[in-house]
């Protein structure tokens, strides 16, 4: 029996035992987030730290009489021990709901069907991986993280719902560093990811990164703060897009005054007709079911041609505001977003930019004025000054402070025809699932401040 099947069987036995403990009006949802991962951290193309992680995190949502409590534990893998722990938590849950006040926005658990999805992969053994990184990186100065292995998400509830999603995949999120003629540090960033490791594809990724690194060798172009015409690569656009998940397209956040796109939602402002944003689970990077086992539509239009179509709504928000939910997760953030592509050919990007900035990556974004959807952040990695369609020189990093209403609205000039699918590389607590599909953006006028 492979590890996926044994993990699912363990989960099923645990759930069956837990459901058998429930009394008449009690309900229970059990979620599993398990992974077997190899993490290799690199610095100077060598191994800084290697860590193998085997974890099975289990979440129990127990509810009764309009009260809900949640417990999370790390399972041992011994079904008898894990059932004993779960039993003690259910008993504790019973005590808590007896004394907690009623929560009017708790939704009854329902049977949202069954599904079982598995994406098999072919990942390198550690020996082969480290040999390839060392061999291919050669004399290059590489820093980064390899994460590879299996991930399992499963959700069952006492009403009969059962969803299972598993995947085997990897990413090597890396940077190459050099010094330019002035002795300044310069770097390029890349992501090689997928389900099938291929030495040739990895070598190609490194070769492309090295080619960009060569362009950073020359003297930096000094640029004063001010307004510039800018092309944002897909990786930079992904950073901008991440802010949409900080409440911007959440129905609950909008109602509570926490959405940066409040003025868009309420029709006071619009974004560009070129800009469309959807949740697209067909990317296959994350399950459609959320932590309550509710299943989101395969594709959900969030913003179409600059106008809000649907905000993300979880069942709690739906109950609070008397609307219909759309299977969003508790935080109502995007899980598998896609920005619609446009008609700007990749080969025409520099000529279309003319004179301005080519921004490869952004760093450390945050809101600076929520009402006006203003964000601040930094340029990072391989960013260039371009004149008359030709790259002139790398720049020194600049701070910006600009509104999403201008970037995706009044100043959005064109969107590239091709998009990139970027796997989520977050590894806080556990390796994240999900990712995004994003094109590049041409922006007429963008504000740099420092």
């Amino acid at each position: 029996m492979n590890r996926r099947n044994s993990g699912v069987e363990h989960f099923d036995r645990l759930c069956e035992a837990c459901f058998g403990l429930l009394h008449g009006n009690e309900q229970l949802t059990v979620n599993l987030a398990a992974e077997d991962q190899q993490y290799h951290r690199f610095n100077h193309s060598k191994v800084r730290q290697s860590t193998a992680v085997a974890q099975r995190r289990c979440h129990f949502r127990f509810q009764s009489s309009g009260r809900r409590v949640t417990y999370s534990v790390d399972l041992t893998g011994d079904v008898t021990l894990d059932i004993a722990t779960a039993r003690s938590l259910i008993e504790r849950g019973r005590e808590e709901v007896r004394v907690l006040p009623e929560d009017p926005f708790v939704t009854p658990m329902e049977n949202h069907g069954r599904s079982d999805e598995h994406h098999a992969g072919h990942l390198p053994e550690p020996e082969e991986l480290l040999k390839q990184v060392s061999l291919q990186a050669g004399a290059s100065d590489l820093a980064g993280l390899y994460a590879g292995g299996s991930q399992l998400r499963a959700s069952r509830n006492s009403e009969g719902l059962r969803h299972v999603f598993s995947t085997e995949s990897f990413f090597l999120d890396y940077s190459l560093f050099t010094r330019n003629t002035q002795g300044e540090n310069k770097a390029v960033k890349a992501l090689y990811s997928g389900r099938q490791w291929d030495d040739t594809h990895f070598a190609d990724s490194l070769q492309q990164s090295r080619a960009r690194l060569d362009m950073l060798q020359q003297e930096s172009h000094s640029l004063s703060p001010g307004n510039y015409r800018v092309f944002f690569s897909p990786a930079a656009v992904q950073s901008l897009l991440s802010l949409f998940s900080w409440g911007a397209v959440s129905y609950g956040a909008w109602k509570k005054g926490d959405s940066a796109l409040k003025r868009l939602v309420e029709g006071e402002l619009q974004l560009s007709p070129l800009f469309s944003l959807a949740e697209n689970f067909n990317l296959g990077l994350t399950p459609r079911f959320n932590s309550l086992g509710e299943v989101a539509p395969e594709k959900l239009a969030v913003i179409e041609q600059g106008i809000v179509r649907q905000l993300l709504i979880n069942s709690r928000t739906a109950r609070e505001y008397g609307i219909t939910g759309n299977g969003a997760e508790s935080g109502e953030g995007l899980r598998s977003p896609e920005i619609a592509s446009g008609d700007l050919e990749e080969a025409d990007v520099l000529s279309a930019l003319g004179t301005g900035l080519y921004v490869s990556n952004l760093h450390y974004l945050n809101w600076s004025d929520l009402l006006n959807a203003r964000i601040t952040g930094m340029t990072r990695y391989a960013c260039f000054w371009v004149e008359n369609g030709e790259i002139v020189a790398p720049i020194r990093d600049l701070r910006f402070d600009e509104s999403l209403y201008r970037v995706f609205g009044s100043e959005l000039e064109a969107i590239t025809r091709t998009s990139q699918i970027m796997m989520n590389t977050d590894t806080y607590i556990q390796r994240s699932l999900g990712g995004s599909k994003v094109p590049g953006l041409m922006v007429r006028d963008f504000r740099f401040t420092l």
Binding site: Y39, H40, R41, F42, N43, R48, Q49, S50, T51, A52, V53, A54, Q55, R67, R68, T70, Y71, S72, V73, D74, T76, G77, D78, L81, T85, R87, S88, R92, V99, L100, P101, P104, F105, P126, E127, L130, A143, L145, D173, K256, G257, D258, E268, Y364, L365, N366, D369, L371, N372, R374, T376, G377, R380, D397, R399, Y428, I429, R431, T449, L450
Partner: protein
């Protein structure tokens, strides 16, 4: 007997010494770091319970040294089979990765450590009823909602009991128990399109080491009413002006200023380049220690893991180094970086005991812990009185800094204009920006102990794989001259 806040799930006992004996033959040297941490989140919004959750982390990290290289394997399977598999995995990785090592591991990086540490706490979860505590949070949210213009009133408590037991084949045995309490009380006021948020010291700042004694409810209720009123004041306020003027930062913003522009750039693993692909590098170079005048002579900064109520106090780091107070910056001069024994040996520089991990499933790296700006002599009135035109800002709400820790932009919840030595109008959307070293050179006055506050955050992110960790920052209010400030607007 009323239901208390304490949760006692059923687990099998774990004996780290027995486990060490199971695995000690698997490598030249092994250690086990056992973590058991309970985190309780209790949240009330607008008088109704919103979250009642308890998260229990329980697992081990096994370190194995083979041929002078250490690798790691983490598991929540605490059986003999689980420990052996983890130890064999760690040893196997050490053999493979050791051929491509950045540096050599030695036992001097894992000294024998013996000792224990326990937070000072007067009252913990068994002593308070769940119903009573929930009622307190409901009352706090009611006090925040001073009028119907407050659309969201949120009262949150986070209570953590953390145990770390570290044993190793060279005789280490460290047992540490930390009790931690976090509070968040916030009001959002809405008028038409505008929404303004105000909280008690910012979203995550109110976190201390200690127990439920930090919930002084009568004081908190009064503060909640102040917070609610100030949210309304912000709705009527004008935007912070866009100009260069003097800036006084309250301790609940100083925590962020210290964290981002002192703490992170001094981390030795950043200086070594380990973080270059994620959090970033540092403008500080190894040769700067002992030479770089980081800021004005009024600037004195310490690493202090022994301040009993501060959030990130402890007795030993995760490599067994005993934690001691050290000066990082004295009279503005940079003296010492933030790096554990591994980074110290790689750089040949002194550091501190800050080799820490976020949980059982992550390897330790250099982290901040408690970084404090020492109090000076000025009273708040004296600082305000010395300003002809300036801004006083409180409570962080936005933060961003570049990957070398130079160019920053921070925002606060609440500000007051200073005119001719007096606080005058309330200002909304206050932000400021600057560059780290020039900014710290503009430090013109450091507040006395009466102006000081002890804060922190549970959410310092860093590392690959990523780790979120607790840090503490104590600071007085400080005055900076000629800072670029600005407000909101399209």
């Amino acid at each position: 007997m009323p239901v208390s806040l304490a949760v006692h799930p059923q687990f099998n006992d774990f004996d780290p010494h027995l486990a060490l004996n199971w695995i000690r033959q698997e490598a030249d040297w092994v250690s086990i770091r056992f973590i058991e941490e309970d985190t309780h989140h209790r949240t009330v919004r607008n008088g109704r319970p919103e979250q009642n959750s308890v998260s229990i982390e329980r697992g081990v990290m096994v370190e194995a040294m083979v041929d002078g290289y250490i690798a790691y394997a983490a598991t929540s399977d605490l059986s003999k089979t689980g420990l052996l598999l983890a130890a064999q995995s760690a040893a196997h990785q050490a053999r493979i990765a050791g051929s491509y090592r950045v540096f050599d591991s030695t036992l001097s990086q894992r000294p024998q450590a013996l000792g224990c540490y326990t937070s000072t706490t007067l009252s913990w979860l068994d002593s308070v009823g769940l119903a009573e505590f929930t009622d307190r949070l409901i009352e706090a949210s009611r006090r925040l909602r001073v009028t119907d213009s407050i659309v969201t009133a949120r009262a949150e408590a986070t209570l953590v009991a953390s145990r770390m037991r570290y044993v190793s084949s060279n005789g280490s045995d460290v047992d540490q128990h930390a009790f931690l309490a976090g509070q968040h009380f916030a009001a959002s006021a809405q008028d038409g399109i505008d929404t303004q948020h105000r909280s008690l010291n910012g979203p995550t700042a109110r976190c201390v080491q200690g127990g439920l004694e930090s919930f002084d409810w009568d004081w908190l209720y009064a503060e909640c009413e102040r917070v609610g009123s100030e949210a309304l004041d912000l709705l009527k306020a004008e935007n912070c002006p866009d100009e260069t003027l003097d800036l006084i930062l309250a301790p609940d913003q100083m925590l962020l200023q210290i964290h981002e522009s002192i703490g992170h750039p001094l981390e030795l693993d950043r200086i070594l380049g380990d973080e270059r692909n994620y959090a970033g590098w540092s403008f500080v170079k190894a040769e700067d220690f002992g030479h770089l005048q980081y800021g004005s002579p009024l600037m004195n900064v310490s690493f202090d893991p022994g301040r009993s109520t501060e959030f990130a106090s402890y007795g030993f780091d995760d490599g067994g180094a005993p934690a001691r107070r050290e000066w990082l910056i004295k009279d503005g001069l940079l003296l010492r970086g933030l790096g554990g024994l591994e980074s110290q040996s790689r750089l040949g520089l002194p550091g501190v005991a800050n080799f820490r991990s976020a949980s059982w499933n992550r390897a330790p790296i250099d982290r901040m812990a408690n970084i404090n700006l020492e109090a000076g002599k000025a009273s708040l009135d004296e600082m305000i009185g010395s300003v002809r035109r300036g801004v006083y800002m409180e409570a962080n709400r936005s933060w961003s800094i570049d990957d070398y820790r130079n160019k920053f932009q921070f925002g606060c919840e609440y500000a007051r204009l200073i005119e001719d030595g007096r606080l005058t109008r309330v200002l909304k959307n206050p932000n400021y920006r600057g560059v780290t070293v020039p900014f710290w050179h503009s430090l013109a006055a450091v507040g006395n102990a009466d102006t000081s506050g002890i804060f922190g955050t549970p959410y310092c992110g860093k590392g690959e794989p990523n780790q979120m960790i607790r840090v503490g920052h104590a600071s007085p209010a400080c005055l900076f001259r000629s800072v670029q400030v600005f407000g909101g607007g399209a």
